[in-house]
């Protein structure tokens, strides 16, 4: 069996990529999704705040997903549900598995839209026993929103990223008491609007530069010890405080889901956790593209979809015309920059104007992102406020020569 374009994952990125590939003239497009429906993580994100950029409206996750799923239906794009892509070669031979067994599909181009997963609990080490009642924030989101199960009555949340903040509000609305949100960094990586609408609205305290240093309880969590941390993020002796609770939520970050990329021999970027791509969102293996949260973690579903539109277009073009050899330049994350996507840009794209997605490494006030080729500054993006939580998108246009370096120039 074969298909022109095979999309792995049916979340907001996968759906947008499939639609765009079909609209750009790919003869056959197939979505392979391991769940029983389209929508990805959005099915469990029942809060509103999606779609402002794309639909000009504040939608909930399921509404956003539903609108896209309707379009997939109208375009008659086939989807294989309850089907997992288990491996893939660099020649785009994709092995899928479902209850019918295993099957290989030869694809003209592959788009990876597999989303991200939460950092496992092992990623942080808290001394103490391992009682029941410790969950990742995303698991609790799924339990409450999809299974109707409340995991506890009094909760402490570690990590103030958006999922942690959103869950503080969900738990409160569903009748639990959120005692505190602790954030080890001196700033929250969550969107400001979530801090206001999820914490301040319900008087939930946010302790910055604090972490959970102990979990109490034998069978079930009975409380946690929180401590202030110093500038090296080490707990400060004497600042410990006990908080009684029966549930601890860990919201300690997301990492792109990329097992498949490994099988195909795709080169990865340690900074984003996703594949290294060029301006066409093509990975180091020709004809394999990546978009959405599997490429780099997005703050907004809208941005994941918009990026995926490009991946779809480029995958269709690849199937029609084959790969395009073009001189490419590297995009390096310099001083103050956390990550840059894409990591390579072609001379042609740069001449026409290529989009770069930039994350800073820490917050800056009144600073600029400076893009240079050698000593020559080709673009400066000034901003009164830059935070790692909010991705900066900018277009780079230059017909010169040499690799690009992205840096933060803080005026203070």
């Amino acid at each position: 069996m074969g298909t022109d374009v095979l999309v792995v994952g049916g979340g907001p990125a996968g759906m947008a990529a499939a639609l765009s590939a079909a609209q750009s003239g790919a003869g056959s497009v197939l979505i392979v999704e391991r769940n029983e429906r389209l929508g990805g993580i959005l099915n469990q994100c029942i809060h509103n705040g999606f779609g402002l950029t794309l639909f000009g409206k504040e939608l909930t996750g399921p509404e956003y997903a539903g609108r896209y799923a309707d379009q997939i239906g109208q375009a008659e794009i086939p989807c294989l549900f309850n089907t997992t892509v288990v491996s893939m070669t660099g020649n785009k031979e994709v092995l899928i598995r479902n209850t019918d067994g295993e099957r290989q599909i030869e694809a003209g181009a592959v788009i990876l839209a597999t989303g991200c997963r939460e950092r496992p609990r092992g990623a942080i080490s808290i001394p103490g026993s391992r009682p029941a009642g410790v969950y990742s924030a995303g698991t609790v989101q799924k339990l409450i929103n999809c299974c109707g199960y409340m995991p506890g009555k009094r909760a402490v949340i570690l990590g103030s990223g958006d999922i942690g903040l959103i869950m503080a509000r969900r738990l409160t609305l569903e009748g639990a008491h959120v005692e505190a949100v602790c954030e080890i960094m001196p700033y929250s990586s969550g969107l400001k609007r979530n801090i206001v609408q999820c914490l301040e609205d319900y008087d939930i305290p946010l302790y910055l530069s604090h972490t959970v240093t102990r979990i109490f309880g034998r069978e079930r969590v009975e409380g946690v010890e929180i401590s202030g941390v110093d500038e090296h993020l080490a707990p400060v002796e004497g600042t410990q405080r006990f908080i009684e609770c029966d549930t601890l939520l860990l919201s300690v970050g997301l990492i792109p889901e990329n097992e498949l990329a490994g099988y195909a021999g795709i080169v990865m970027d340690a900074k984003t956790g996703g594949p290294l791509v060029n301006d066409r969102l093509e990975t180091s293996v020709p004809g394999i593209f990546a978009c959405g949260n599997s490429l780099h973690v997005h703050d907004l579903a809208d941005f994941a979809s918009l990026e995926a539109v490009e991946a779809g277009k480029n995958a269709a073009a690849y199937v029609k015309a084959g790969g395009e050899a073009c001189q490419e330049f590297e995009c390096r994350a310099g001083n103050g920059i956390g990550s840059v996507v894409p990591q390579r840009m072609s001379a042609k794209a740069l001449a026409e104007g290529a989009t770069a997605y930039i994350r800073v490494g820490r917050p800056f006030e009144n600073a600029s992102i400076v893009i240079k080729r050698g000593d020559r500054v080709i673009r400066t993006v000034r901003s009164p406020r830059l935070t790692p939580g909010e991705m900066v998108k900018t277009v780079v246009r230059d017909s010169g020569d040499g690799d690009l370096t992205f840096e933060v120039d803080s005026h203070d």
Binding site: N48, T60, G61, G66, I144, N145, L173, I195, Q197
Partner: protein, 115 residues
């Protein structure tokens, strides 16, 4: 009295200080643009939020996500939530269907997904 208000209209997230007395705004500082003023006035006089939650649908043994179709006054969120939890959903339901008309004034509770 001083009330701290964070503008959420754009990613700048300006921290504003609103000085008020007897329900009247005396001054506002910290906003970088006029949209911040509009936001602060609205937040001060009529703070409202869209309510989202889930309802258990017995016939399908699964959860249906629902929301209010417009913001509900903040101080009535929990009262509305109690009313919403009393809704008995009978499938089939389509995204956008009104499940409860006229909650907290002219807001409706609508389904966020098909079921």
């Amino acid at each position: 009295m001083i009330k701290k208000i964070t503008c959420t209209t754009c990613p700048m997230g300006c921290d504003m200080l609103l000085e008020h007395e007897d329900g009247k705004i005396l001054s506002l500082t910290g906003n970088r643009c006029a949209r911040g003023k509009a936001y602060a006035e609205n937040e001060f006089f009529h703070p409202a939020r869209v309510l989202t939650t889930v309802l258990y649908v017995k016939a399908c043994d699964s959860m249906l996500p629902v929301r209010s179709d417009r913001p509900i006054p903040k101080d009535r969120l929990f009262e509305c939530l109690r009313a919403v939890k009393g809704i008995r959903v009978v499938p089939p339901v389509h995204r956008g269907d009104i499940l409860y008309a006229g909650i907290a004034g002219d807001a409706n509770i609508i389904a966020s997904a098909d079921m």
